[in-house]
Amino acid sequence: MRNRFTRSASVLTLGALLVVATACGSDTKAPASTGSVAPSDTSATTDTSATTEAGADISLAVNPWTGAAVNANVAKIVLEASLSTKTTLVDIDEKATWPGLDDGSLDAVLEVWPSGHGADFDTYITGKKTVVDIGKLGPSAKIGWYIPTSMLADHPDLATWEGFKDPANAKLFATAESGDLGQFLMGDPSYVSYDEQIIKNLDLPLKFVVAGSEAALITAVQQAEKDGTPLLLQFWQPHWLQSKVKLTEVKLPDVTDACTAAATANDGSYACDYPVDILYKAASAKLEAKNPKAFAFLSKMQLTTDQQNEIAAMVDSDGKTAAEAAQTWVDANPDVVAEWLK
Amino acid sequence: MTESAISVHGLWKVFGPKAERIVKSPDADLPRGELEAKTGCVVAMRDINLEVAPGEVFVVMGLSGSGKSTLVRCLTRLIEPTAGSVTISGVDVTGADREQLLQLRRNTVSMVFQHFGLLPHRTLIDNVAFGLEVQKVDKAARRAKAEEILELVGLGGLGQRKPDQLSGGMQQRVGLGRALATDPEILLFDEPFSALDPLIRRDMQDEVIRLRSEVNKTMVFITHDLSEALRLGDRIAIMRDGKFVQVGTPEEVVGSPADDYVRNFVRDVPRSHVIAVGSVMSAPSDGDDAGTVNSTTKVRDVVPLVAHSDLPVRVVNDAGATVGSIDRVAVLSVIAGEDLHPEGSQGR
């Protein structure tokens, strides 16, 4: 009898605990209902002065770089304030973004670098048609070869690729890893890389070394900057580091039709500069039906390179969160936002 | 003629690959090392036959590796015998199906283990009640029974302790209690006291003797200690290399060893401690006597009588009828037949 009593007592308390849990769970400000995707930044509060009818909730992918966070936070502010669409931001790896768009658990990604996602484009946009291309973001990006600007003072010939033909020049870049050759450092393996082909086809005395991650590459740059040591690397625009460390792009041979053909054929004969990457936005094919207004807005939304850099600088240099920076910019540029909503 | 409690016929146990081929083959007679080299098999027990009467205490004695532990485990098929048959209380154990075997183990036979085999995560009371729990006896009933049994083995009131809080002797009392709790007809003891101090061992042996007189169970007792065997056994089987070398009463074993192996074993045993008056007495004599003893009295217990008198001692049977007499010379000759430096003796 006593046992039964205590058992039911503990069941009751457990039940009470659960009731409290669910009761409180529903009022926590973080959206527990979408537990599969965690909010990246909940500090941006919702503007409740909405005039339009509320649209279905959407979630935007945030890939791990400042530009991506900036775009998504700007979009979130506009979506919530002007379109009454509750928006969740999901921090996620670039590659994992696509299956998310595919099954509709992510609604859009606002900054896709085409060079890294050719296969995804083929699979999901032209193949399954579960993801749609919703136009250019605005800024274009470019991958290239970079050296610290300070090196040009003593070695002006390093401004172009021909300067690297000289073994003595190349040797400036030698490290323990590259031995007698100069070291060419590549960072994140996810970026397109023709560097090995370029080195071989232009017959440069360089050795291709993979740092393995963007963090490793940036650390190497900061190290070189601090020590004043030479460094040759693959890098790109836009990137927050460009505003902190002075890097100069090495001029490679101009892009020609033959060169583009070599890239397509993938025959190992690539020997020119990288083409310009035009950043684009992609959305789940389900978004248009689910929330047409949001779809229209996201398709229209564009930022210029300068605008994106302006917001990114607030984050990278002024220590604001991406949400704060986006809010500041949106408040200061109502006309730009209005244009997107037309 | 009552049926045997345990009846074993032609029981073999061979460990190794294709063990059944070895049984009764010429290979089985090879020395252990040669057999193992040739076939990879080891014969633990060969062609064992035995009958244990209800209420009898049957002791199997042998040195380590003689196969005695294998034998006791084959009785309830804790180890599957390779060949032969075992019948317990009329149940054909070797042919039994799973259900029959479980019933046998649950209700008919219990075992007491060498290293006590108490389950360390259970209290004493739950250890004692283990067999009942397995039979799905309800909690209150098995607790009550277990309390009673703990009282019986002298551990009343300690039921909530855990085994590791007890001395070895007390632990084995629990082991004994656990075996008794299911009220089995047959108790199997696998060297139960070998891990105990000599004094405690003696206490425990007394406990077994007491139990025997109180509950009258059939017992099979495995030991490597000759004095224990002689003390407890109605009959003793001496086991060597998987075979019974001799089966007989303590008197027979000590009095007429079957071979040198047994003789060597019993050499240090004071014969007067084992041999009963009945087996050395002469015809009843008329006239006065120095006293009266039962025919089962050990010879050494007659010594005080014959020491103080030249007269013979009258021997009677259980019914009190005179069956013979024993005199000083007979007693001395029993004593004289033994070693004069009896270190092995454990006289009271």
Partner: protein
């Protein structure tokens, strides 16, 4: 000479003649062997360096096509719709509920709950440590992210146990199941999460489900292993007791085997939790948020402090959970309370549990009413700045210009030029089959022909994955990392085995080194050692020495006192006692330490690739970062095969050293 006598055939009279002839006999095969080896080496270094093309298992295209097919059919195929997606939904649902409960408790309720569990499982000390550690997560400013991570952990650990313990029981009861599972578990533990993360996303969608699945794959092995070990470790006497009283199979399991295997199973649960914390950061890549995301953010900004603070929170959370899941409950002291009724209440765990739960609910309710939602700002402490200034200081002072040693930068260069590069060149210059022959020979010497076959098969497998040269690159780095780890771990372990104070001092450091995500120290390691193979080796060493130190110390401490006492009674000095008694008797444990070190180093191959290690690790990074699943899988499988070879060889050494003892 006399030592060889007993081996001579019986009846043979030892004379000068036979001794000398014995000498020449033994010399001839030696010379022959040397000549053969030299010939082999010459051929091996001149012919066919990499594996031939006919030896291609077509693993990459196969995985690529499966992956591609899954990408295209994950919306329509029944396996996805009726198996994977429901599983994903169930995982998401459980996670939501657990997280809601944790959040509802508020921080005071959570701390109270931790304290109560700690008191129940490990006593007062454990409870205090756990509460302080968990509070530390809040102090660092990561309260809600900690809850997100802990909720994910709990779900993953729950699934791991739900699946792992039954599998462990099966493996404990059946030798064949054990053997099969051992191989699968080895694979699960060494296979880098990088190569199966994307396929999991395709199968389960983004967010919590693939993260939980990845965690389960990585964390389940200890649950299975330790359960199996526990079941196997139950003394035959105990199971015999059960059988003799007529237990059925299930009765034997529930009444005897499982209760007696309890300690091992509890240890398994604890290990599962620790392993689960090891993949927190990787799981954040698929959109789970939490502490892993915070570490990733810090890393993306290349900010040591920003990555370190959430890393520290992960360590705190792990320590909190560790302390409340290990440790036997202290034996209950007799209550001084005379009143029978009150004592009965206090002794009844149900009453105490109900009371504790009511108290926790009460605390949570009060916290809700008083608005104690977030961890109080006033209690926060910022570690970002001090850590960053420490990092800057280290960078300024340790890299260059350190007297005598020259600094970490020049150390790194020396290491690459004189050790890593020559070794890699040697391995890559040797013909693939020569390497296989060498490993087969090592296998044969260590564990007989079975091991030799296993080594050969695994290495041929690597060749058939078409990653031979990369595998040799990785192998050279693994060698160096293991050498370095062992050189550090064994002396420290010996010292710690002989000094209680050092042991106490080291414990939190070792805990931290094991749980702190490697991503946290990637940046400082690069700062100090330059991008390349050395920072990878250093990161591996940091990760691999804790178990090495622990096992060595444990081995030393487990040496029974009797032989040491005997040595002392013969007048042995401390040194002699160590070298002649303790070390030989601890050899088995030390061999296990070596084995664990190798496995740990191999599990860091991918991390090393993120900072310039290259080799097989980089292949698996390609798998995730470029979506080239086939490439990632080939790299991952090659790492697994390499791990099996090295693991089995060192295990054989361990067995031999124990054989020598008995």
């Amino acid at each position: 000479m006399t030592a060889t006598m007993p081996t001579r055939a019986l009846g043979e009279t030892p004379s000068r003649d036979t001794i000398t002839s014995g000498h020449s006999k033994s010399r001839t095969p030696l010379i022959a062997a040397v000549v053969a080896l030299a010939a082999l080496a010459i051929v091996g270094f001149t012919l066919g360096h990499t594996a031939p093309t006919w030896l291609d298992a077509h693993v990459r295209p196969w995985f690529d096509s499966v992956y591609k097919w899954s990408q295209l059919n994950n919306g329509t195929n029944w396996a996805f719709r009726f198996v994977f997606h429901p599983i994903a939904d169930a995982i998401t649902w459980s996670n939501d509920k657990v997280l809601a409960l944790l959040r509802a408790l508020r921080w005071p309720g959570m701390l109270a709950l931790t304290g109560v569990i700690g008191l129940r499982t490990g006593g007062r000390r454990a409870a205090i440590t756990a509460v302080l550690a968990l509070a530390g997560c809040g102090v660092l400013g990561f309260w809600d992210d900690t809850l997100i991570t802990v909720a994910l952990m709990l779900v993953a650990v729950g699934i791991s146990l739900l699946v792992g313990i039954p599998l462990g029981i099966w493996a404990g009861l059946s030798l064949r199941a054990d053997r099969v599972m051992r191989t699968i578990l080895d694979t699960a533990q060494v296979m880098p999460a990088f190569c199966y993360l994307l396929p999991l996303v395709v199968a389960f969608g983004i967010g919590i489900p693939p993260a939980v699945m990845a965690t389960v794959i990585y964390a389940i092995p200890p649950a299975v292993r330790l359960t199996s070990l526990g079941i196997r470790g139950v003394a035959v006497t105990s199971t015999e007791v059960g059988t003799s009283f007529g237990c059925t199979g299930p009765q034997l399991l529930t009444k005897v085997r499982l209760p007696l295997a309890r300690r091992a199973i509890l240890l398994g649960i604890n290990q599962v939790i620790m392993m689960a914390f090891g993949v927190v950061v990787i799981s954040a890549l698929v959109g789970t948020g939490g502490l892993g995301q915070d570490v990733s953010d810090g890393l993306a900004k290349v900010n040591v402090g920003l990555a370190f603070a959430p890393g520290l929170a992960i360590v705190f959370a792990a320590v909190a959970i560790d302390r409340i899941t290990t440790g036997e409950r202290p034996s209950r002291r007799k209550n001084a309370i005379a009143n029978q009724a009150i004592r009965a209440v206090l002794d009844n765990p149900r009453y105490v549990g109900a009371a504790a739960m009511t108290a926790i609910v009460g605390i949570a309710a009060v916290a809700k009413m008083t608005g104690l939602d977030d961890f109080p700002q006033s209690l926060r402490f910022d570690v970002v700045k001090p850590v960053n200034s420490l990092a800057t200081w280290a960078n300024d002072h340790l890299r260059n210009g350190v007297p005598i040693v020259g600094g970490t930068g020049s150390f790194s260069d020396f290491f690459v030029t004189h050790l890593l590069t020559p070794m890699r060149d040697l391995f890559q210059a040797a013909a693939w089959w020569l390497i296989i022959v060498v490993f087969a020979a090592i296998g044969w010497v260590s564990g007989g022909w079975k091991l030799a076959t296993l080594c050969s098969v695994c290495l041929v497998g690597i060749a058939s994955l078409r990653v031979w040269d990369l595998a040799m690159d990785t192998l050279s780095q693994v060698f160096v990392a293991v050498l370095l780890s062992v050189a550090l771990a064994i002396p420290i372990g010996i010292w710690s085995g002989r000094s209680d104070r050092l042991e106490r001092l080291l414990r939190p450091l070792l805990d931290a080194a094991q749980v702190m995500p490697a991503f946290v120290y990637l940046v400082p390691v690069i700062f100090l050692f330059n991008v390349g193979r050395v920072p990878g080796v250093i990161a591996s060493v940091i990760y691999a020495i804790p178990p090495g130190i622990r096992l060595t110390s444990l081995g030393l401490r487990q040496v029974p006192y009797a032989p040491r006492e005997a040595a002392l009674s013969f007048g042995a000095t401390g040194r002699q006692e160590l070298f002649k008694v303790q070390l030989p008797l601890a050899l088995r444990s030390i061999m296990l330490a070596l084995n664990q070190t190798i496995i740990m180093v191999l599990s860091m191959v991918v991390i090393a690739a993120l900072i310039g290690g290259g080799g097989l690790g980089l292949e698996t990074v390609y798998g995730l970062r470029k979506g080239e699943t086939g490439r990632g899988m080939a790299g991952g499988l090659a790492i697994v095969l390499l791990a099996i070879v090295l693991d089995r060889i060192t295990q054989a050494w361990g067995k031999r050293s124990s054989g020598g003892l008995r």
